[in-house]
């Protein structure tokens, strides 16, 4: 600060002003100012509307006429009493289990294979990650053709000798949702593979060599060193695929099976809201989906904070 100021009586106001001025000129001020628009946007358009959705789920707006009469938890009671809702939860569990394990197991295995310093690795990597670049709707249509029981996969397998192979795939009235998770897994495995590959590249060769010198078998090397070191990646993969399972919509829209066999929370929400104008019921479903996501997001945030502190 200016030399001349020294020696003058420092009035409290002046000190405060100077402090403020310093704050204003600092990088913090700039950061706040730059971030302010997005902070405001996120506050209104994400958190504000989450609260609004919660509020709408407690009113009587279940037709095309807006109606803000409070009905308490009536919409929630209706929702929990619906057979369709029980199917949605069942399908969520089945889908999440199948989709997450597919992505993580195959993503990891492919990443390990690609990490063996093979020739043409870039080509294989591109092939595996490519489905991720395809939109869900295109994936859905392609898989619908593949799963057509009289053509597609069934026909191929029947032609090569498995004459009894007659799967109903997505049209199966009980397990159709698993067929949809196949299509989703095909699409998302490449992305998880990329995460693991980056993780594997981050493990230094010294660690491997040290383990091998100490006589660890390849199995023990992965079991006790590499997989534990990749835990943060696995955690990220679980969160990403878990969120994907809660909100799956596009594939279900295209590959829908009979009755509620492939119904999901997101599709139910869409149909209730925009097909039937049951806005309050749709809001309850949306709010529930956010709530379910918290079980994944909160532990993730915590672990992130732990990592930063470390």
């Amino acid at each position: 600060m200016a030399q001349g100021e020294r020696g003058r009586a420092a009035s409290p106001i002046r000190v405060a002003l100077r402090r403020r001025a310093r704050w204003l000129h600092g990088d913090t001020a700039l950061a706040v100012l730059v971030l302010l628009p997005s902070i405001i946007a996120v506050a209104i358009f994400i958190y504000g509307f989450i609260v609004w959705t919660g509020y709408i789920s407690t009113v009587k707006w279940n037709s095309s006429i807006e109606d803000y009469t409070s009905v308490g938890l009536e919409n929630w009671r209706t929702l929990f009493g619906m057979e369709r809702f029980r199917w949605d939860l069942r399908n969520l569990v089945l889908y999440a289990a199948a989709f997450m394990s597919q992505c993580i197991i195959f993503g990891f295995l492919i990443a390990v294979l690609l990490n063996q310093k093979i020739k043409g690795e870039a080509i294989f990597r591109t092939i595996v990650i490519f489905p991720f670049a395809v939109s869900g709707v295109v994936t859905g249509v392609a898989w619908r053709w593949l799963m057509q029981p009289t053509t597609g996969i069934n026909l191929i397998l029947q032609r090569i000798g498995f004459t009894n192979f007659d799967f109903q795939w997505n049209a199966d009235p009980t397990l159709g949702i698993l067929a949809i998770s196949l299509a989703a897994g095909w699409q998302f495995t490449g992305y998880i593979m990329a995460l693991y590959l980056a993780g594997l590249r981050g493990i230094s060769d010294e660690v491997r060599e040290a383990a091998l010198v100490d006589g660890a078998s390849t199995y023990r090397l992965y079991r006790h060193i590499i997989i534990p070191l990749l835990m943060p990646v696995t955690f990220t993969a679980v969160v990403l695929t878990g969120m994907g399972s809660i909100r799956v919509f596009d594939l279900v829209m295209i590959l829908a099976g009979p009755a509620f066999s492939t119904d999901t929370l997101a599709f139910h929400m869409y149909q209730a809201t925009f097909g039937q104008y049951r806005w309050s019921l749709g809001a309850a479903l949306g709010f529930l989906m956010i709530f379910l996501s918290l079980f994944l997001v909160v532990p993730y945030m915590r672990s992130m904070r732990g990592e930063v502190e470390r």
Binding site: H25, L30, L33, V34, P37, S63, S64, I65, E66, R84, R144, M147, Q148, P149, T150, Q168, W169, N170, A171, P173, V252, M253, A256, G257, P258, A259, F260, S261, T262, D263, F267, Y270, Q271, F274, G275, Q276, Y277, R278
Partner: protein, 428 residues
């Protein structure tokens, strides 16, 4: 450090100003005069050309108006995506100038009762539409005595398309006229390994069964009792509903075996394939589709047991309140209600005009037959196509029939229908 900060500040200011400028620019553009935004779900062959024929007439009359054709592919059900987008725009107070909507409850329960539409009494008077549209049609278009949309066409739901060569394979020369006859023929076809009825039920609340079921309902209970299903005078727990469900449930046994994997969009390809089904109950837009596929081996009759009835559905356009270009929208409604507009649209779309004075020479054999039937037969409103019941009921109805096609539990499905009718508050 100080210099860098100054540059950063400058950048921030530039960003803020450009954002503000962009916002102002957006405001200005919306007020360009001479626009006409028309919402529809007409995006496939035939439909696009038909709509364009109307636009051409409009542009000739009003060359200064720029038409914005906001067509959105249908998605699930008829116009599912477009209806969802429309609903958000109507709620947000930013309606298009006019939009396609099924004549009847679909418009009335979605938008008229919510006080978002202008009544078109004045337009019907000025254009003399009260005299040229049949009374049945005006009644379906009206709410509390006033019409709310202008029907551009009439489609018939209760048509059965059949392949004479497939029936001939089992020695049948005439298509079945009742459901009993249908099952006799179906049994013969099944013995010969031919699916009797085309069904495409794939898709959430697909609606193909819903289309067949409305035709079974009216054949079993007759038009009076059928109409009563929607004003509360006939209960959905009626024995005739049970009987209708049993007929549909039995029909699945004679359908193409992959009906659960076949979507509504794919069923026509299945119908025309060499090993395709012998019969299909579907609306008369099928005629245009089959022609466009180059298929010749088909003929048509009314759906079993619906002789003398005309299951009506109609596409129409209405006038939303606060339409940004109200005058242009009214001019458009005049064109689509005119004889010229309807005779340009319908031969291409494969439908008959809602007006009774259409120019017969412009329509083909099927459509001329439909025009005759429309004059003499009794009109009944279609459920599946938005004329008889509100949108929310339709979705529940399709969900219930999807359940029937999957689990074949008649009692459970009837209970679902009863619940749906209760939720729809018929007759209250």
């Amino acid at each position: 450090m100080k210099g860098l900060n100054r540059v950063s500040w400058l950048l921030v200011l530039v960003l803020i100003f450009s954002a503000a400028l962009a916002a102002c620019g957006g405001d200005k553009e919306e007020k360009v005069a001479g626009n006409l935004e028309i919402f529809s779900w007409w995006t496939s062959g035939g439909e696009v050309e038909a709509l364009q024929a109307v636009y051409d007439i409009f542009s000739e009359k009003y060359p200064d108006v720029t038409i914005e054709n906001a067509a959105l592919a249908s998605g699930q059900g008829q116009g599912g995506n477009m209806k969802a987008l429309l609903e958000t725009r109507m709620l947000g107070g930013e309606p298009p100038d006019s939009f396609q909507v099924h004549l009847g409850r679909e418009l009335i329960d979605s938008h008229v009762v919510a006080d978002r539409m202008e009544d078109l009494d004045f337009l019907y008077e000025e254009e003399g539409l009260y005299d040229v549209f049949p009374e049945d049609v005006i009644a379906i278009a009206s709410y509390e005595g006033k019409p709310y949309s202008v029907p551009v066409n009439i489609h018939r739901s209760n048509v059965m398309w059949y392949r004479p060569s497939r029936l001939a394979e089992v020695g049948v020369t005439e298509p079945p006229a009742t459901w009993d006859e249908f099952f006799d023929v179906a049994e013969k076809l099944k013995a010969a390994g031919i699916p009797a009825l085309a069904i495409g039920e794939q898709g959430a609340a697909g609606g193909f069964s819903g289309h067949i079921f409305e035709n079974i309902l009216v054949s079993v209970m007759g038009p009076e009792k059928y109409r009563g299903l929607f004003d509360g005078s006939t209960g959905w727990d009626d024995a005739d509903v049970t009987k209708s469900l049993e007929i549909l449930n039995r029909a699945y046994d004679y359908a193409n075996p992959d009906f659960a994997n076949t979507s509504w969009g794919d069923i026509n390809d299945r119908f025309v394939s060499d090993d395709g089904p012998a019969m299909m109950i579907m609306g008369d837009w099928t005629h245009g589709v089959l022609m466009s596929l180059g298929f010749k081996d088909y003929h048509w009759t009314v759906a079993p047991g619906t002789q003398g009835l005309f299951m009506v559905l109609s596409d129409s356009f209405g006038l939303p309140k606060n339409a940004p270009d109200r005058e242009n929208a009214i001019a458009f409604l005049r064109v689509i209600g005119s004889k010229e507009g309807q005779d340009a649209f319908n031969p291409i779309k494969g439908s008959i005009p809602a007006r009774t004075d259409g120019d017969r020479s412009k329509y083909d054999e099927y459509l001329n037959g439909a025009m005759d039937a429309f004059k003499t037969d009794e009109g009944v409103p279609s459920i599946q196509h938005g004329a008889a019941a509100k949108q929310s009921f339709l979705v529940d109805y399709d969900i219930a029939l999807g359940e029937l096609s999957t689990n074949h539990d008649v009692a459970k499905v009837q209970q679902l229908l009863v619940d749906a009718a209760k939720a729809a508050e018929f007759g209250e």
